[in-house]
Symmetry: C2
Subunit: 149 residues, 2 copies
Amino acid sequence: MPQEKLSVTFFYFLEKAIRDYRQYAQRNIRAGFGDITLDQLLVLRMIQDQPELSHHQIAEAVFKDYASITRIVDLLVRKGLLFRLGNDRNRRESELTVSPAGDDLLVAIQPIVAKNRFIALQGISQEEIEIAKSVLAKIIENCNEKSNG
Amino acid sequence: MPQEKLSVTFFYFLEKAIRDYRQYAQRNIRAGFGDITLDQLLVLRMIQDQPELSHHQIAEAVFKDYASITRIVDLLVRKGLLFRLGNDRNRRESELTVSPAGDDLLVAIQPIVAKNRFIALQGISQEEIEIAKSVLAKIIENCNEKSNG
DNA sequence: AAAACAAAATTGATATATCAAATATATTTG
DNA sequence: CAAATATATTTGATATATCAATTTTGTTTT
């Protein structure tokens, strides 16, 4: 049972780390490219990898909620990075395809994204990251236990 | 130098852990009380602890940006949890005081907040949390290095 | 096939994050 | 002290998160 004080600072750090990382990564992306957000990139790449996914499945794959996916997809379409294609067989299955512009963007941006992660984790051993990851996994599990309601 | 694959899942887990924790904590707070958010609570408690802080200092203390603080404070005042008092000596110094209703809320909600954190960290050793915390601290540091621009 | 039901997707409302721009206030300089 | 400068605060615009409500689409039942 961790001490209360440690818990408090741990959660503070958790919030700050993710926010600082996002800010840092977003800044680097903006420097090289226009106005695409990390979340839009994430969704775009997921659709490129698995174009057959429904919105619902995309949401689960990228750990976001359905409403956000709807809006992010709308933005990507509006930016011309994604094409919405009809699919008569099943309207609920994906009707999305990454456009050539979207493909180009993903290719160009890939090394930046990788570098962002690399720099953010610099000076941390693989073992430490594994432990931190397992801590995060346990938190996710704890927060999703039915019995805790 | 951590492997790329590990980095990817680590950042996914980081995002998911904070989101699931917030969702879980928010749900428990809503169950016991009305419509106060975690962020509003955080700011309210900070002002209670250190009423002399300026908006700027509050923002730094709770790791948020100035614009958000302005809006959160407005909401807290609108809800009657915070009083805005004039201060003729120095307009930029804090002019905020937690209202009796705000004090009551903080007292009542404290055990819930503590329990949320406790449950979220269940089954994790203190040492593991310390390591995870140090990893987060290093990320924060890495993302704020001037030289990485 | 029509009705009932289930699941998926969208929309609306509100909160927060972020950046930029505009104001307001304080401090320093001349 | 007035002007210039610096710092703090607010506001506007846009993106995302969340929840609730609604609409759309699909499946099942009869």
